[in-house]
Subunit: 342 residues, 2 copies
């Protein structure tokens, strides 16, 4: 028997007394092979602890059985912590891949870097999942390049008209609307919005538009002084809140475009002696794990990451099979906790 290195299909063939081609057929589950032959092959496989070489198999079949996940970190390149929301997505994507029998390659990318040509081109993956927010206007070019190259990909993010490729996202507009409607119902009239609100950041912008819409419905005027830019980090939320307090904009509620922003805002409010929810009602977006542990627990919008992961993987797999795939918007659910109950 072979003394060094892993066994190959030839070793199995010898041991089972069949040709190497038959070993391959048996292992791929071809209906052609005889039951008895298949058993002999199986026995040999177990005896030698044989595993099909995926490199050879992928090369021949031109298909890798692997998906790649590109997680963008910009602009939070402080390499400390990844947004827990994306981490949660990562978990569900991993699970969905496993369920479908695919392996998952993951890679963190700077948003600004040249990631558009990557795993798929080098045949390491059959398709790509794009995750992470960033300046959409810069992003869009790269998406178009991917489409032009024929790369199979799906992305998590706002579903907009005329977008290149397939997008899966949650209903940011409805989520934003629900938060603002809830706050209005609790009697708030000066609701600040913490987060970028421009087409550069479509996810936040949609949340903002939902918020603006709810205000409009209730006849509350939209005050630009109440909108403060912030990216999705605790620090940025803290700073934005500081700025807003300093400007004395006068607000009785804060809708943060993400939980991380809300948590930062909560800290700033506390430092200024403003109590949540008595003085200021507060709500976030994402429902990350920490949201229920902060004090007071944070009202937020739940995005179903489990479902999202499944839909992302499923859509990508269908793209790979050349089936037609449409973008999908997942529901967003308001979760009311103490931070907004004044």
């Amino acid at each position: 028997m072979r003394s060094k290195g892993k066994a190959t299909s030839i070793d199995i063939a010898h041991l089972a007394g069949v040709s190497q081609a038959t070993v391959s057929r048996a292992l791929r589950g071809s209906p052609l092979v005889n039951e008895e032959t298949r058993r002999r092959v199986q026995a040999a496989v177990e005896q030698l602890n044989y595993k099909v070489d995926k490199n050879a198999s992928s090369l021949r079949r031109m298909y890798s059985g692997t998906l790649a996940l590109l997680l963008f970190e910009d602009p939070t390149a402080d390499e400390s912590h990844i947004n827990p929301f994306f981490l949660s997505m990562l978990g569900s994507i991993t699970r969905a891949c496993a369920q479908q029998g695919y392996d998952l390659l993951i890679s963190f990318q700077q948003f600004s870097r040249d990631w558009h040509a990557d795993f798929a081109d080098s045949k390491k993956a059959d398709g790509i999942i794009l995750l992470g927010y960033g300046d959409y206007l810069a992003y869009r070019d790269k998406l178009e390049k991917l489409v032009a190259q024929g790369t199979r990909f799906v992305r998590w993010g706002a579903v907009l008209p005329d977008q290149p490729g397939v997008s899966i996202g949650c209903d940011n507009f409805s989520g934003g609307h629900a938060v603002a409607a809830h706050l209005l119902e609790r009697g708030c009239r000066r609701i600040a919005f913490l987060g970028d609100a421009s087409s550069h950041y479509p996810e936040f912008f949609e949340r903002y538009r939902g918020y603006a819409d709810a205000l409009g419905e209730t006849g509350v005027a939209l005050d630009p002084a109440l909108q403060q830019n912030a990216e999705s980090t605790e620090r940025s939320g803290y700073e934005a809140m500081q700025a807003l307090i300093t400007q004395q904009a006068g607000f009785d509620a804060v809708f943060a475009a993400s939980d991380l922003i809300a948590i930062g805002a909560m800290r700033a409010l506390g430092e200024h002696g403003l109590r949540v929810p008595q003085d200021v009602a507060l709500a976030g977006f994402d429902d990350i794990a920490t949201a229920s542990f902060v004090n007071p627990p944070l009202t937020t919008v739940l995005q179903d990451t489990r479902r999202a992961g499944e839909v992302l993987v499923d859509s990508l797999l269908r793209l790979i099979r050349d089936e037609s795939v449409a973008s999908v918007t997942l529901p967003a659910t308001l979760v009311v906790r103490r931070s907004s109950l004044r």
Copy 2:
């Protein structure tokens, strides 16, 4: 020019007017090729947007440039949330891999399943990183199998004598000692321990031993009634705390073997009207992000996940290069917050 499919090295060879072998050499950075030739090849590569086929390359070179991360979830197979501590490790491992030019394959495994033969055998990865706690006694067999098979792997966990393979872990004993010493210094004398304390769970056991050691130094008797089993989930911490309260063990402090346990315990204490830290001092272990956001902020032990990821990847890479590698114990740092200050 080729109309369909990706360009191959042959296409590049044609375009650059050299042999296919030369293209390969140029791309692998062989010192043999002429500078001028290299430039011509490069130009062709860019023109055709060529990428080396990794499957073919890996097959030929017998090396994949990929590492695999196996993340165990048992016994928390409730598929809801992954322990944030491991998520943080995942982040740092990903980064360390990228830095070394390796791709990372990730896979969640049930601890109990048959994962010992996997990526490495099928040549998808050059080595494996094992992450996640579980019953060590069952685990050990599989580690031995990995060693016997010649699989390259490193694992995160307690560094014990006579362990199969290379382990990287933090100094659980010192961490546990530091927590107990701190609690004792604050005047606590009846310190409960929440977490398994047996050789089945060496990481927790080491923390327990550090705790016991500190008690001994101060002449405080170790009361078995104050130890309550718990696995690393919020729910388990909640239940363990409930049990301990019901038993009326009489305690003035709680050392939870992980932050998740501590957070669950905090909830149980609150429901019973026990105030932290006034009535009961509380400390955890890991310093997950949430620890600083709970109310009151949680005293805990920081494990340097960034460093851990680097050391794991570095050690594995050296193993792959057939260099000798020793297990390493990383420092654990006490982080004092309000939960323990009574």
